[in-house]
């Protein structure tokens, strides 16, 4: 067996301990003492019970994830690994997670009150007042020196122009519940449109006033809508159940109670734009209708119409003239033909051959029979070149 240096000894011990599976990841229950919160963000403390103690280190990376702020003499459950700090030859518990222990009693009270108020109907949706969309004045119940009012003011100032009335309250400690109730009551005498009640993050004990009955009753009795904003996202208090709206954090509450003025302006601009478009459309519809109607009554169109009709009249009269002329011409030819044919049957031709036509003088009736005349009647004969007046001497029946 050789002789170890101190360093070698401690290194060996470190190797042995850190390879021991039973010590690699353990849960330990104890009470915090000698707590040092180093400026580096690391916590050093001793975890002890009645008979024993162990050094603990909780690095900044772990502390960032903790849901509460460790305090001296706080009872906690620590999850971690055994490690050796060789510089001092000291073994310690390296904390990986830590939870408050000994709040079992608080949880019990929480559950009891929650069930009681729930049975009374204080959490019913039908009881919830609606949050105004565009408040003019916002009331805030919180500590004037806490992180919450700072966050709320920041968000409200950036987001939307509202008046803010802070009703100061103690939000931690013995008197806090009564103080919160009083602050809510004071705001009921003002003309705020909505109230934010809350505080920044903390341990369950820190937030406890928001789990007290008088606070929940004051919230549910308020005439003005109330938004709760207690601690962080994961902290759910009974006040949150009673409030008209629960915000996960104070900043979120501020975002919930007012709209975003930038988005609103954009919305209003788009409304103006749509309005302009509608007006332009309306006017252009009408003007194109006017242009159409105008085109139908244009003088050029009218004179064109006249020109067209004039031409048609000219054409018709030309066609009519031609028709008449051709009728007249063909009529003349037919007349010549008829005259020739008439001439052929004319009695004048017969007279030329020696025949004559006899008629009674008194009535110019043609004489075709001896019965047409009596003795003494005046008659006349038409011959080729004239007329011969005669008197009937006698009539005798005689065949030719």
């Amino acid at each position: 067996m050789g002789i170890y240096t101190v360093s070698q000894l401690n290194e060996n011990i470190k190797r042995v301990l850190s390879h021991e599976p039973q010590l690699a990841q353990v849960w330990v229950r104890g009470e915090i003492s000698n707590l040092t919160k180093h400026s580096s963000g690391h916590y050093y403390f001793t975890l002890k019970d009645k008979g024993s103690q162990v050094s603990c280190v909780s690095f900044r990376s772990t502390n960032r994830g903790l849901k509460f702020d460790p305090e001296p003499s706080m009872k906690v459950l620590v999850f971690g690994s055994i490690d050796v700090y060789t510089v001092r030859g000291q073994y310690q518990l390296r904390v990986l997670d830590m939870r408050p222990d000994g709040i079992g009693e608080l949880y019990k009270a929480y559950e009891q009150l929650r069930n009681k108020l729930q049975d009374e109907g204080l959490f019913d949706t039908s009881r919830k007042r609606s949050i105004p969309k565009y408040p003019r004045r916002v009331g805030v119940v919180t500590s004037p020196t806490g992180a919450a009012i700072h966050d709320i003011l920041n968000v409200l100032k950036r987001r939307y122009p509202v008046d803010i009335i802070l009703s100061p309250a103690t939000v931690q400690g013995d008197e806090s519940a009564q103080s919160i109730v009083g602050a809510i009551e004071k705001l009921s005498h003002t003309d705020v449109d909505v109230i934010i009640v809350g505080r920044g993050g903390g341990s369950m004990e820190d937030l406890w006033s928001f789990n007290e009955e008088i606070v929940s009753r004051a919230i549910s009795q308020s005439e003005i809508p109330i938004v709760s904003a207690v601690g962080h996202e994961t902290d759910v208090t009974i006040a949150d159940f009673t409030a008209d709206l629960r915000a996960p954090t104070p900043s979120a509450a501020a975002e919930l109670v007012v709209p975003d003025s930038v988005a609103l302006k954009r919305h209003i601009d788009s409304l103006s734009e749509r309005m302009g478009q509608a007006a332009i459309r309306m006017i252009s519809d009408r003007s194109s209708r006017i242009i159409y109607l105008q085109s139908r009554i244009e003088p050029e169109r009218l004179s064109d119409l006249v020109r067209q009709n004039t031409q048609r009249v000219d054409e018709l009269s030309y066609r009519m003239g031609r028709a008449v002329r051709s009728n007249v011409e063909s009529g003349g030819m037919r007349l010549t033909t008829f005259a020739g044919r008439l001439n052929a049957v004319s009695p004048l031709k017969t007279l030329g051959r020696g025949y004559s036509i006899a008629s009674r003088t008194d009535d110019r009736e043609l004489i075709r029979s001896i019965d047409d005349v009596s003795k003494g009647d005046d008659i006349y004969l038409i011959v080729r070149d004239g007329r011969i007046n005669c008197n009937v001497n006698s009539v005798s029946e005689e065949q030719l």
Binding site: D163, I165, L166, T190, L264, I268, L271, A279, M282
Partner: protein
């Protein structure tokens, strides 16, 4: 709720709430877009709408708002300016 009387009040005074003005502006744009109005009615609505949009924008731009804290003095509530 949105009656003719309301619209009359809107053109006459800028004191109605932001919400009422914005609601009126929205319903007016809808009406205009349906396009079943006479030209005169449309132009009247358009003019009123432009006025409402201006009123809304002005209200949103009111930068200076009061931040006060409630204090009690001789049992009486007072609002005094709050600075962080």
């Amino acid at each position: 709720m949105e009656t003719g009387g309301d619209s009359m009040a809107a053109t006459k005074n800028n004191d109605q709430s932001f919400e009422t003005s914005l609601d009126e502006l929205e319903s007016l744009v809808d009406k205009l877009e349906k396009g079943q109005l006479t030209l005169d009615e449309s132009l009247e609505l358009f003019e009123k709408g432009m006025k409402l949009a201006r009123v809304c924008n002005t209200k949103l731009s009111e930068a200076e708002r009061k931040i006060e804290i409630l204090t009690e003095e001789n049992g009486k509530l007072k609002e005094v300016e709050f600075s962080e």
